[in-house]
Symmetry: none
Subunit: 405 residues, 2 copies
């Protein structure tokens, strides 16, 4: 099977269409960099992607995409039709960044390095989607599959993959996408074939409160919370499939001489495997319940018991695309054929949603290098040779998966 994938990639790379497309990527590299800069400087915090979405829509409008539009969730979608009666393959990059409104976004350039919040994660990939469209247009590429291009909302933290949930579960393309490639961050050598699932909770422990001395003996929600966290710290999770937990942020209470009315902690639970994540989540909810019961038994509830508000603040499904799947093999072969050493990883991206639905999905890189994602010092390097080679590897993957005619 690997040999077959390598053979398909060799055929793609030998084609006149690929060679013209590659030459176009190279010739238009400066324009691609300009697109990166222009899009980076349009703020797009999760839930505030609309301005950047409209800009992307107008930049994509030159490429003859069918049904180019902004869907009800805020995703930009448009179809590059194939020869007809083929499957629908989705290629996506996300519009949103982790940076709040008001963050300074002016791109600073030092040689081939560009610095700005969000420039690599994931704005560069948006420009690469446009570069691929231009290269395919220039090479008059025809594919068996229809290619659905998506610039999506809500990939980062609080967005909780809302763009993808809409695309796969509610929007006009739901039930029609047969394979999914998300382009996320520059690194081309790591192919994500596993989507880490996560469940996030804010658990608030409430109680009657009271004077720390006068009301001593009443239940204290801090003891229940501490017991819950301590119990979580003793939960065993497998190293593989990797499964993790964290008690991350905490707060509450009013004064040192008061038994608190209310304290809270934010918890993060993750796993590569849905079954392990479900098991961890069940253990977590069970140990919270046990801690509350224990506190209400340990001290007096005469002024009221300890109770909890358990708010699920994030829910990303885990998923996996088998490494033997043709989608993975083609990406591996294409990236390898372009001189990179591909390896597989598990991460949390837009691909989690299709993976969780059993739809073959991977994450590939946008090419070039970068670093310090999610920090104000985020940077990418747009040195032409490795950048163009990376983009070409991704495009070869898309052409092979879509079936170059």
């Amino acid at each position: 099977m690997t040999a077959r994938a390598e053979s398909i990639i060799r055929e793609v790379m030998a084609s006149a269409a690929y060679r013209t497309a590659h030459a176009t990527l190279a010739a238009e590299h400066d324009r691609t960099v300009d697109d990166i800069v222009a899009l980076t400087q349009i703020a797009a915090p999760s839930f505030q992607e609309a301005t950047r979405a409209r800009a992307f829509l107008s930049m994509a409008a030159a490429h003859g995409l069918r049904d180019l539009t902004i869907d009800a969730e805020g995703n930009v979608t448009g179809v590059r039709p194939g020869v007809g009666n083929g499957p629908l393959i989705c290629v996506a990059a996300h519009l949103d960044t982790v940076f709040p409104a008001g963050t300074e976004l002016t791109v600073r350039r030092e040689g081939t390095r560009l610095f700005a919040p969000g420039i690599g994660d994931d704005t560069r990939s948006l420009a690469v989607l446009l570069a691929w469209l231009r290269a395919m247009d220039a090479a008059r590429v025809r594919t068996r599959a229809d290619l659905l291009f998506v610039a999506d909302v809500g990939e980062e933290g609080p967005g909780d993959l809302r763009g993808m949930r809409y695309l796969f579960q509610k929007g006009p393309y739901k039930d029609r996408i047969s394979a999914f490639i998300t382009v996320d961050s520059p690194d081309i050598s790591h192919i994500a074939t596993g989507g880490v699932g996560s469940k996030r909770y804010r658990v608030t422990f409430n109680g009657p409160g009271g004077h720390s001395y006068g009301a001593f003996g009443l239940v204290n929600p801090m003891f229940a919370m501490a017991d819950a966290i301590a119990r979580l710290g003793r939960v065993s999770v497998p190293a593989s499939p990797k499964t993790t937990y964290s008690a991350s942020v905490t707060g509450g209470g009013t004064s040192i001489n008061s038994i608190p009315n209310s304290v809270w902690t934010d918890f993060d639970l993750r796993s590569e495997a849905p079954a392990e994540l479900a098991r961890l989540e069940a253990s977590f909810l069970d140990l919270i319940a046990k801690s509350v019961v224990a506190e209400n038994a340990a001290r007096s509830t005469r002024s009221g018991p300890v109770t909890t508000d358990i708010a699920k603040t994030g829910d990303r499904p885990a998923g996996r695309t088998d490494e033997s799947h043709e989608l993975v093999r083609l990406a591996h072969a294409a990236i390898s054929a372009h001189g990179f050493q591909p390896s597989f990883e598990t991460s949390s991206t837009d691909a989690n949603i299709p993976m969780s639905l059993g739809i073959p999905a991977i994450k590939v890189g946008s090419g070039g290098t970068g670093g310090r994602a999610h920090s104000l010092e985020e940077w990418i390097d747009v040195a032409p040779e490795p950048s163009i080679r990376g983009m070409a590897a991704g495009l070869a993957t898309v052409l092979a998966v879509a079936g170059l005619v």
Copy 2:
């Protein structure tokens, strides 16, 4: 000696001055309630008492107090002069509450019940000081002693009795006060003759931090802290001498997908008995050390171990006024003569400071009833008969101690 105190109180209560004063307390009860409401609705967290202090100062200004001012620490002080060459007796109530800035303070009324944070502890007492001044003025009360009225700062938690420390150790009245009565919370039947000692700590647990998924397995200071709090919750303390502990306020962490670098909790340890307090403090420090060792053994310290910063944030001296002291006997006789069943208690109030300095000191109640102090559901009952009777009992105590002329 008890008979002598009872005789003095009988004389006071038989006097025309007392009877006129009592009638004034009754006639002006609605005004007193209005004062309670007005003062309660002025926020006064410890260290932010200035607005309420200025309001109290202007309300007290009608009463001809000598040297009415706000001292360098923030206490409102003013002297009601006696006939001359008498001792200086201090009567105090505290301005501050445990509730942080921004707490909703609007008073809710249900029949004779008033609900609001801080209304009983200790705002009602501030209004009672004003009611006593009005009653004394109306009755043209003259006393052998000078009466120093104080509305003081820093009684609660982090204030660490700063108002009293200043008054007794630094301010213009230091070394001149021969007896001290603080009016704190409604309950008139309990006279505090013992000052509970307390030790307060902010313990900060530090660790290397890291990504909640990528760095899973590293030590997490939240687990050490939770273990320490849970261990504290299992510590046995004697019911007598009353000894208590609380984990009261907590915070820390940066984001849900980060193992925190730093988390902290404020702890309150108290006892009537210095030896029990020392034993509890030793257990507390030991269990913190054990929790840190346990966390550093449970997870990896390859990026650094969990460590602690242990800051002592409060240290209130214990103290006691002998129950045979005339101050105590007069309060007991006055409260008893007003139809209450007085008993003695140990608590932590402004009286701790004079007690620890060997100055006779007690805490009495402001009259009426109340509950849920230090909780958002704090309430008082201002039903006139018991409220006025309670205020009259306190005033009779003050008049007897100051020597009605």
